[in-house]
Amino acid sequence: MPSIDCEDQELLEGFLAETTELLEKLDDDLVVLEKSSDDADLLNRIFRSIHTVKGASSFLGFDLLVKVTHKTEDVLNRLRKGELHVTPEIMDVILEATDLVKLLVSDIKAGDIQEREIDGTIAKLLPLLSENAAAAQTQPEAAPAAPCENPVPPVSESVAPPVINPPQEVPQAPQQKSAGDVVIKKTPPSPKPADGKGEDLSDNTTVRVDIKRLDDLMNQVGELVLERNRMIQINQNLQQVDGDKIDFNEEFGKLTKRMNFVTSELQMQVLKMRMLPVEKVFKKFPRIVRSMARDLGKEVDLQIFGEETELDRSVVDEIGDPLIHLIRNAMDHGLEGPEQRMAAGKPRVGTLVLSAVHEGNQIIINIKDDGAGIDTDRVGRKALEKGLVSEEQLAAMSQRELFDLIFLPGFSTKDKANDLSGRGVGMDVVRTNIKKLNGLIEIKSEKGQGSEFILRLPLTLAIIQSLLVEVEGEVYSIPLSSVLETLRVDQRQFHVIGGQEVLKLRDMVLPLVRLERVFRVQKREEQNDFCYVVVVGSADKRMGLVVTRLVGQQEVAIKSLGNYLANIPGIAGSTILGDGRVALIIDPVGLVENGECGSGR
């Protein structure tokens, strides 16, 4: 089946959109189901989803998909009728089947149907459809007591019970507790309607809009913002210059204010249109945590807060990967196994808290575990072993710098790489992606008590708050999200260490970058001892940018420089100032990296 022979492209697109949506929801539902296995509504919904996928795919002639969904549906049907009961083992198989369905759907999406191996998964589903499978379930106490270290497949147990009880007699209560080693607690998002009907309703109130159109709208609003800025500036000029036309000035002043207000509102509205709840990303985590917990033999209670927090699409798309890596990290390195935890006097089940919250123009995502915490001695030793730092460097490091070592590419405390971790890639991905988003990472950790990763991300990438600075007459804009503080400093306070200018700032030694040097700005004659230092941070790095003057804070729309001027080191884009001139936006991330190279030379 090399290509898709589908006459109606629109039909296919509709199928893909619907199926993708259903499958996304399905994952979430399945994990919840494991916890509340007697929720008939939930089960029915899951059943319906699979059924819909099956129906649509058979209509369009995707045979592989039909086969898998058909068997899965059968198993779900038995669950629904009460012939089977939810156990972690059954869930494993169903989840595996769902994954296979996703794979098949993504093949279709890619327009390239491959002959996938589906018999393996179907073979796992089949035993659940035999009469014996139900019998296996009639042993209510065996499964719940068994810890996950020695999972017993239900089929093998089915040999033991001589009597086949009608499944209705199976006690319900222990079944619920047997749901496995993961308990997923979800705080109900407040506005979410309780029943299915409410959800249908909310679906009807949304409209799918082409993202391109939203982008265009966003651009236009951006322009309006610029015009507004220009108007404000003209107004200011007018007020200063022309004192006598008081009436006109007053009117114009009022107009400017109103225009300012309306534009800001409009801008907010358009921004909100692009917003998605962070739930989009969060909802795949229960599933990931569950399967990881089972693989690692750990018991984890994942708590998710603030999943209704909204942020820009572009950011949502980017934070998925780093979050997965951070969660993996917490599961693999942070949380201990049940025995270890008991020995350390902690509750058997580890807690992993994932939360999102707004703070000003930022979103703060927090991943916190109550595991072993970061062992800085071990981290330091490993970094030394791997040759990532020298002994002297290590000795001079603060607690924080030691934490930061885990972000180095190639760093891992594992001696051997396994499926989950050990290659020293994950945390590097985290750092890279967060940097790309102009975000910051902060680590808090106490040995034995657990660790906490705090991500600070901008809400949107289209319009930013920025600090305008002047470098020898040229105006540059620095994203405010990366600015930590600004200082007015006497240049005589600068020190030079190994050719690198630094500034002692409290307990920190701050490397300095002279913007006029990096950007090769023509120096003007006047020599001033005082200058301004803008302290910027990117992910886990800090540095000071030396500028001539601070101009002010302004909300600016980011304009791309186009393909020809993309990737200029240290420049992230441009924006248009109130007077119509173009100002370049500094990319602190690029500068920090350049700074690193520069200091090495």
Partner: protein, 164 residues
Amino acid sequence: MSKALVAVNTEESRGELIQLVSFNLDQEEYGVDVLKVREIIRMPVVTRVPNTPHYVDGVINLRGKVIPIISMRKKFGLMEAENDKQTRIMVMDVDGELMGFTVDAVSEVIRISGSEIQPSPAVVASGIDQECIAGVINQADRLLVLLDLEKMFSADEKSVFGSL
């Protein structure tokens, strides 16, 4: 690749009329396909962009869009000249992106037939890259060099932009 220029090379369309915008650069006259020219503007304030090739003058604000400005003189290795009242920026569509090119002066739109375009002589003076010369138009009292701007930036150069 512009349609007009493709047409030049095919036999049957030799007689087709082509419109060119002609401009001056260091005493010489050049022409580009009129369909590629979006607008012609006077010199606005140009913001310098650091760490770019020397022929990039900077960027300008073209009614809310930021576009790069390339100095034709610098790009072609000609003598630099002060901007004067005649200096113009030709905003052109190059590979789907708007770019501005500073030229000494823009003179007129001329119509020529495809058959008037001759292949460029093997050696062209004044250091202009052979690559982007699509042909030469030899009329009684004038010589016009026809440029293909899409060939102006080689693949190498495009990536150089990135690594500089």
